[in-house]
Each structure stands twice: as structure tokens, then as C-alpha cells.
Symmetry: C2
Subunit: 367 residues, 2 copies
């Protein structure tokens, strides 16, 4: 068996320990004679798996009791539609901080569905190389919530603060955050948010699962007659089982949470590891005249590190040689070009060491 | 390792050969050094997996070229909402044949979303023990499509014919079928349908994947401004990758399709095996005064066989002893009670032999 270093932006690397445990249990879950995939979602065995996953997630992020944790389908993109439908049932507009492609998609979807949308702040003037200043965020008078993307996966831009959500009239509206690509990368204060959501395929588990953490007072604010599976309140009341949930992805997410707790030692420990990994790679980039990253230092993503070569004609050679060296999926997003190394939780520090060594060697030999 | 016989109604048994192949490839897909779960959905490796799965599915069901095959999320229940939103953009009503709980849910969801709904035929008068007579189906004048459930998983009621969809004005409307629990159980003529859809977790793969087979002329008929991920046309144009699809479930479905083609020998062979399995179990029930099934013989489901004991006080003992004997998940749905043995494709004939032997023994000893 071969295992290479996988820098994919998502679906992304999973912890080897999780994959090994899944392999061990694949045909027979703990002597029950069947796979987790083959269990009724209403069976005692699966309910125990599901509840443990939720409990571990809550413990990791210290989720307060007045929040529900929903295990959903459809990816973060489905939340782009579900959010305004759930939060603006009483009217109001959706406010957005725009820092890149994903935030733009969230806004487009709300607009498509006919909601009033307002850009409260944008980093477009600086080419999305630094997040807007904290005090530049201006909510509209009718703001129902403020949405932002804590880490832009494609641009590699990460917030270094939690935005304030006060309108001119003094009212604080709920803060909604797409944390798809940096959830669980370190501790956060959940109580600052109305809704946190994340597609699983970066730091949680396999694609096909989406987590939403929703404050209780935001349940039951939905527009009338939205699809049943869109209604946070119905989903919460059914324990995310209005219909059959993605059971195997839920189980794998639970294994990832166990790994974070038991093998890594929790989110503070994960945070330190992630900081070291990112520091090493950015240091290698900054020390070189050949590699560069355009993002303001304070907003450089710890999860997604885009960089370009001084000579773009060498991109193809770089990628081919990296692949041969067992450094996979370093190609930048098609909208950006260049390279991108994603350093999610499951990417070990040794992967960064191997990458920086390869980069130094490539810089010297130019392929 | 223990493997028991699993009669679960869904998520249901998967072929052992598929699980073994998945286990073998779990940490390293064909020497590439990573799991299928860890691959970008836009990588060459995953695109090859996805395209092969679709090609095999098309070959198995002989899907004509003027149909798209969509790999979606959200389960059949999400289709209950997506169908009227996609098919009634130009107006018209949704027509339903009601033969049980799932068909009722499909109608409720369309109603909830504000669509005009009409019951074209119902088996409610006979307690859902026989499907409505073919010539009793009366479409409304404004019918936009006719929806039915080819196999009711809970009641154990299966259509023995394909409904006609002619309105009084002579116009044929599209036929829409929820085949969640009997798709791939035998050959069908796809050209008779406008849309076929099925949650994966019975005969296709793990929960979290839904297949929809949509005739080309039905794309682009959607209501304006529905969620992007609801629009069949957008999904079809993006090859089911408007956003990240449930990649691992897609891969597993592909392995199931390969198993059906190569190990089973195609759907005609599968059909014969399923017929034998069902015949054996119904024969055992009919030969006994202790077990009974209420469904008209011609409509007895080959996939889901509900039955009751003459003495319901023995239900618990029956289930406990069955479980101990390695016959899992025989409890009937909570809305029906009694027992239910689901005999999906992956349930081997030996499972039915073991079950009928256990039933005969239990009848004799009464536990």
C-alpha cells in the first residue's frame, strides 16, 4: 500500500488513523455482522454512532446548549439557499462581507431567490488580498443577518477577527459564517455566531455531509412553505432525520472527531500544529525570490496556501515533479492559477517539511 | 469477522464483493496513494470513476441517449420538492397514484410548496393491499405529470404494470416514478418514463446519494428562481457537479453497478434471482397458518415482504431469536408492526433459505 501527501483543497486528506479504523470495521461493525453503511439510521447501533459524533463535536468546539447541531446534505452551497429562507421569514435583507469567490456565490444564491442583499464590506478594491478593516463594515438598516466566509478556500484569505454585527439603530443581528474550510482548525467562541455551517469535505469527513450549528432563537423564523428538508426547525426537531441522513459520512465524521479529541488532544493542540505548519510554508515562500503569496500577512490562510512561481512556464514541470515525489494535488484553482497547498488538519507536519524541501530543490534546479 | 444476513429496509445490505473491494482500496486507490474519499471531484481519477459508474448504470438499465442521469443528494424526499418545481414551471397540476406512505409524502410535499395536486387513483379503499386497476386512473384536465411509487417499501406493494398517462384531452403527460426500493431489481423500459428517481440506500449504494433519470425535454421547464441545486437543467449541464457531489457514495454505487454487470450477469439474471427469493418466502408464508401477508398476490413486492405472526405477543421473541440466529433487522415499520424482510439485490438466496428454515422452526416450537 502507498500513501502520498495530499494537499487537495477538498475533498481533502483524512487522518490515516480514521481510514484504518474505517477499513477495519467496513464489513463488520464491532461484531454486529454488518457494515455501518448497511444499518438502519433508526437502529440502536446507528443512533449511538450519531449521538456520539454530535457529543464529540460539541465538546471539541464547546458548543453552548442553546445551539442545535444539524447533520445535513447538499454542501455549503445548499446552505446559501437555506440561510435566507430560514432567517428572513419575517423580512429584512441579507448582508454580506465579500472576501472572495465563496462569499460571492452565497450572495448570488440569495439574490437568485429574490432576497434583498446588501454588501456591508468588500475586499474587492484590494483584489481580495486583505479582509476589510473591522470598522469599515456597514450594515443596512434592514439587515436581518450578516454573512461572511471565515476562510476563502480559493483565494487563501482568512479573517483575523470576528465581525461585529451592529446596525445603525444599535440592534445586533445574527452573525452567519461559512466555516467550510477552517472549522475545527482551532478553538472558536460559538456564542458569537447565529449560524455556523461547513461542508464536511475539508476538516470534518467525506463529501456529502454538511454541518450547521444554529442558535435556538433562529429556529422557526423560516418563510412559510419552504421545502421540508430546508427547514432548520423541522430538521432540528427530527434530530437531522426527517429522512435518511448520509449515515456513513456521519460515522466517518464521528471518527474524525474522536481522532481530534484522543489522538491530537483537542482543538488547542490542533491549533498549535496548524500554526506551525502554516508558518513553515509561508516562511519558505517569503525566504525565496522564486515563490510568492500575495495575501496580507495577518490574513494569510492557515488552511489554503496559494503561491505562484516567478516563471509560470515552469508550473507544469513543478506539478509533474511534485506528483512524482508523492506531493499530490498542488495545482491552484482554475480561476487563480499557480499552486495551492491545502494544509487541513489531516495533513501532517511531515507533509509540509517534504513540500518545503521539494520547493527549495526545485527553486535551485528550476526543474 | 462476522457477517450476518441483513434484511434491513434501508440503508440496506450491500454486496459482500463490493464491501471487500472498497476495503481493499480504502487507503490507496489503485496505487495512487490516497483514498477515493480524499480525491478532488474534478481530478482525472474521480472523473473516470464517475463516468464509468454512469456508463454502467446506463448499460444495465438500457437508458436511451435522450435521458440524463443525475447523481444528487437529499434522498427521494428532496425529489418530492424538486419534481414539481422542475416540471410545473409552465403551470399545471401534479397528479398522483396513491398506494402507500411514500406516495402520500410525495403529494404532501408538493401541496406544502403550493402546487395544485390531484389524486388520480388510490388504493386506500382496499387498505393499500392491491394497486388500483389500470383503467381506473383518471388524470385531471390540467395534469402536468403523473407520479407513482412503483414499490411501497413499508406496505410491501409493487406495481405489476406501468400506468398510462393520457388525459381526457388525449394528451400524454410525463410519467414520474419513485423507484427507490425496486430500481435495478429487474429490467424496465426507461422510455416509458419522464423521470425516474431513487434514493441509493436500497439497491444502489449507501445513503446520501440519489439518482434521477430525466428525459431531455423536461430540462428547462423549471420555475424561475428555484435554488440552483434544485434545477435539473443546471445539474445536468454541470454533470451533477454544480458543487462537490457525494464522491464516495458515487464510487460505491459504481462498484455495485460493476457487481451487477460482472458478478450477477445483468438485470435479467438479477430479476430471476429476485423472483426465486420472493417466491420462496411467500410460499413459506402461504403454506403456514402462523404467518400471513395481506397483499394481493399480483402486487406482492419482491423487495419488501411484510408479514405478521398469528400471535402478536410472540413478535418480540421472534425478533430476538432471529437476531441471535444471525437474521437481522426483521422488525416491521413502526407504522405497520409485525415483521418485514427486505430482499434487495444484495440479499443472497441463502439468506431467504435461512429465514424460511428459522420461520418453520419457530412456528413449530412457538419460540
Amino acid at each position: 500500500m502507498t500513501r502520498h501527501y495530499n494537499f487537495c483543497a477538498g475533498p481533502a486528506a483524512l487522518p490515516v488513523a480514521v481510514l484504518e479504523r474505517a477499513r477495519e470495521e467496513l464489513l463488520d461493525y464491532q461484531g454486529r455482522g454488518l457494515s455501518v453503511m448497511e444499518m438502519s439510521h433508526r437502529s440502536d447501533e446507528f443512533i449511538a454512532i450519531a449521538e456520539r459524533a454530535e457529543a464529540d463535536f460539541r465538546q471539541l468546539l464547546n458548543v453552548p446548549d442553546n445551539y442545535k447541531v444539524l447533520f445535513l446534505q447538499g454542501g455549503a452551497s445548499m446552505q446559501f439557499a437555506m440561510l435566507p429562507m430560514n432567517l428572513l421569514g419575517q423580512g429584512g435583507s441579507a448582508n454580506f462581507i465579500q472576501t472572495g469567490i465563496w462569499g460571492k456565490k452565497a450572495l448570488s444564491e440569495a439574490k437568485r431567490l429574490g432576497f434583498d442583499c446588501h454588501v456591508s464590506a468588500s475586499s474587492e478594491p484590494n483584489g481580495h488580498t486583505a479582509v476589510p478593516a473591522r470598522d469599515s463594515i456597514k450594515l443596512s438598516g434592514d439587515a436581518g443577518y450578516l454573512h461572511y466566509t471565515s476562510n476563502e478556500t480559493i483565494g487563501g484569505l482568512e479573517f483575523d477577527y470576528t465581525p461585529d454585527t451592529q446596525r445603525a439603530d444599535g440592534c445586533h443581528v445574527p452573525l452567519v459564517c461559512d466555516m467550510s474550510s477552517n472549522i475545527l482548525s482551532g478553538p472558536i467562541d460559538v456564542s458569537e455566531f447565529g449560524v455556523i455551517y461547513a461542508g464536511a469535505q475539508k476538516n470534518i469527513g467525506p463529501a456529502g455531509l454538511t454541518l450547521a450549528v444554529v442558535r435556538d432563537d433562529l429556529l422557526g423564523q423560516a418563510q412559510a412553505n419552504i421545502p421540508s428538508l430546508f427547514d432548520y426547525k423541522m430538521l432540528a426537531e427530527a434530530g437531522s432525520m426527517v429522512n435518511t441522513p448520509p449515515t456513513y459520512a456521519w460515522y466517518l465524521a464521528g471518527l474524525v472527531f474522536q481522532w481530534l479529541k484522543d489522538d491530537v488532544g483537542g482543538l488547542a493542540a490542533m491549533d498549535a500544529i496548524n500554526q506551525r505548519k502554516a508558518d513553515k510554508l509561508y516562511a519558505a515562500i517569503d525566504a525565496s525570490d522564486f515563490y510568492s503569496n500575495p495575501i496580507a500577512k495577518v490574513n494569510r490562510s492557515r488552511m489554503n496556501v496559494p503561491f505562484v512561481l516567478a516563471d509560470a512556464a515552469l508550473d507544469k514541470t513543478f506539478l509533474q515533479q511534485a506528483d512524482t515525489a508523492g506531493l499530490l494535488n498542488l495545482k491552484g484553482h482554475r480561476s487563480v492559477g499557480g499552486m495551492r497547498a491545502s494544509l487541513y488538519n489531516a495533513v501532517p507536519e511531515s507533509a509540509v517539511d517534504a513540500l518545503t524541501a521539494f520547493m527549495a530543490d526545485f527553486e535551485q534546479t528550476r526543474g
